[in-house]
């Protein structure tokens, strides 16, 4: 098992390096020059601009610049935000917690919806419940998150006036009230992401359960007189959920996309809204770093899923 985890970790490193190469190539291919403003400024002579370019190494070959950039990133020097005037790694660390909280809670919500609905639908295939669940799932993942978000704001904030639609990081309250206010403002973003995600997962859970429910050991469990409930919960669902673990990990990139949109709608101060605001403000170091963090998170979740998979399913060989 330890060897298996180590192997997975070693596989993750080249993909991280590959991602960094892709990101840097995109940046290097892109037109535009950080000293462009100086070029149009008549007060700055061209020699000064050239000297600056030479000082920051912009005239070096791409490979040299890449190695310099990746060593700086590896040493924790992620650059300096042009707009916020603080180090990029600090800026991202401040914002990462909120994003992970929203994504994590919405994942839990998605699983809480998808697993029961998918299991019930699979135990009664082609029944009325199954068909309604399938149709609702289609509607759920066809509703773009930006539209669900606006609908939720319209219904729950404007018409019913139940929930606040602007996320506040600094709530002036103490004790239970502080927690309550935090939960209240997190309900809508989590629901938007969680419902979307749950709708996509329902169909996977259903087909995973359908695959397992026909197997012989399930028949054996029934034959020895176990109740249907025990058969489903203890024998079928346990095994059916193994592929679902991988699917949750594979869906991670889509969830990050949804999280960016949700953070933007509800003005949550996470790294998704940081990405959008830095794009609008031309803050290149932050944009590169946030994109890289998103990619790292995807690789990390894939790694966790792989390890979980190996732990849950003893049939996987730990080569």
């Amino acid at each position: 098992m330890g060897y298996y985890i180590l192997r997975r970790l070693l596989i993750a490193i080249p993909s991280l390096l590959g991602i960094s190469v892709v990101l840097f190539t995109v940046l290097a291919l892109a037109p535009g020059d950080p000293f462009e403003e100086l070029a149009t400024n008549p007060a700055v002579p061209p020699e000064v601009r050239m000297a600056l370019r030479a000082k920051f190494g912009l005239d070096d070959p791409v490979a040299v610049r890449y190695v310099r950039w990746i060593t700086a990133m590896a040493q924790g020097d992620w650059g300096y935000s042009f707009v916020s005037r603080i180090n990029v790694d600090q800026l991202i660390l401040q914002r990462l917690g909120v994003t992970l909280f929203v994504i994590g809670s919405s994942q839990i919500l998605a699983l809480l919806i998808a697993i029961p609905v998918g299991v019930i639908a699979a135990t009664r295939p082609y029944s009325v419940f199954d068909q309604i669940a399938n149709t609702l799932a289609f509607i759920g993942f066809s509703l773009p998150t930006f539209f669900t978000g606006l609908l939720f704001i319209l219904v729950f904030s404007i018409w019913l006036d139940w929930l606040p639609f602007v996320y506040q990081a600094d709530i002036k309250a103490a004790g239970w009230r502080w927690y309550w206010e935090h939960i209240r403002q997190a309900i809508m973003p989590i629901a938007v992401l969680g419902l979307f995600q749950g709708a996509s997962l329902v169909r996977y859970v259903r087909s995973a359960v359908l695959d397992v429910i026909r197997l012989d050991y399930v028949t054996t469990a029934r034959a020895k007189g176990l109740g249907e409930r025990v058969v489903i919960v203890k024998h079928v669902v346990r095994n059916a959920l193994i592929p679902v673990v991988t699917l949750v990990a594979l869906q991670m990139p889509a969830i990050f996309g949804g999280a960016i949109v949700t953070e933007q709608i509800f003005r949550i101060p996470g790294i998704g809204s940081l990405l959008i605001s830095s794009i609008l403000a031309n803050d290149t170091p932050v944009i590169m770093a946030v994109t890289f963090v998103f990619a790292c998170l995807v690789v990390l979740f894939n790694l966790i899923a792989d390890i979980l998979y190996g732990w849950l399913d003893p049939r996987i060989t730990f080569r």
Binding site: L23, V26, F147, F256, G257, Q264, F294
Partner: protein
């Protein structure tokens, strides 16, 4: 193939299977109506999309403006009909780009028996692990100004968005095509073609590709929906089309700050995106049933 009645061509058989998926047929009908409205609507509904009327700002639906007006008094029905053309065109064009690139890479990876295939698949997985939206945003951020300068704001943005969305969605298609190729290239009919001296290109184009096309068509259908969502998301974030091109996502972006007193402004374009994506997804599901010969219906 043998047990079918000989009078049924594959197309007719697929159509018979597709018709059994009720929701897919209804969806095809609704989507057809929407496409028709977008195509001929502007010829009938002749209010210009940029006609400003300050006497009628932020009005709800009425006979004069069936979908209401925005903050400048511009007619939303006219804007949505125009924007729908852009949204659907982006969706279709991006799908073709994705299918084209994905099929080529998948075919090369599926036919090669050496390191080329594994290298291409490693590249595919690499692109897959970069989340789609941050990737899109990064590329748009870096390239938008140059393309706008070269092709003008409208054409430049269209080309950029199509290439970016389509060019970054080829990976699932490539994996699909490769998987199909890996099993098809060992089948007897391909071996027969090989034995008859067919060149590699001929084997691929005449024998393997037509048999691999079913899942690709299904993936392509669903890609149209995904591309429409991607374009709307970009426009919704204010990073897609410029304000004078009212795509559905852009309309939502403009509407979101007026949600409390003009909900119709957001509801109509949002519903249009939702309905388009939903119907395309259902059609894709129907096509999956229709084009998968292993599925008994």
């Amino acid at each position: 193939m043998q047990q079918r009645a000989p009078t049924f061509s594959p197309t007719r058989e697929a159509w018979r299977r597709f018709r059994r998926h009720k929701l897919a047929v209804i969806s095809a009908f609704i989507l057809g109506l929407m496409v028709l409205a977008i195509l001929i609507g502007p010829l009938i509904w002749r209010i210009p999309i940029n006609q400003i009327d300050f006497a009628a700002t932020l009005q709800g639906p009425s006979w004069k403006h069936p979908f209401g007006t925005d903050d400048l008094g511009q007619d939303l029905l006219a804007r949505m009909l125009y924007g729908g053309r852009i949204s659907l065109a982006v969706g279709l064009a991006a799908m073709f780009v994705a299918i084209f690139v994905g099929t080529i890479i998948g075919a090369i990876a599926g036919m090669s028996r050496g390191w080329v295939g594994s290298a291409l698949m490693w590249l595919t997985d690499l692109f897959l692990s970069l989340p789609q939206l941050p990737r899109l945003l990064l590329v748009i951020y870096l390239f938008r100004d140059t393309l706008k300068g070269t092709f003008g704001p409208e054409g430049g943005t269209f080309i950029l968005i199509v290439i970016v969305i389509g060019g970054l969605r080829w990976m699932p298609v490539a994996r699909l095509v490769r998987a199909q190729f890996l099993s098809l290239r060992e089948k007897e009919f391909v071996e027969a073609a090989r034995a008859l001296g067919a060149s590699k290109v001929r084997q691929v184009v005449r024998h393997i590709l037509p048999n691999a096309l079913g899942p690709v068509i299904v993936a392509g259908t669903i890609d149209v929906a995904a591309a429409i969502i991607a374009e709307s998301t970009l426009s919704f974030l204010g990073l897609g089309f410029p304000p004078d091109i009212p795509t559905w996502g852009r309309l939502l972006f403009d509407a979101k700050d007026n949600l409390d007193f003009a909900p119709h402004w957001a509801l109509f374009p949002g519903a249009a995106i939702f309905l388009t994506v939903l119907t395309i997804n259902f059609i894709g599901d129907g096509l999956r049933d229709a084009l998968d010969p292993r599925r008994v219906l």
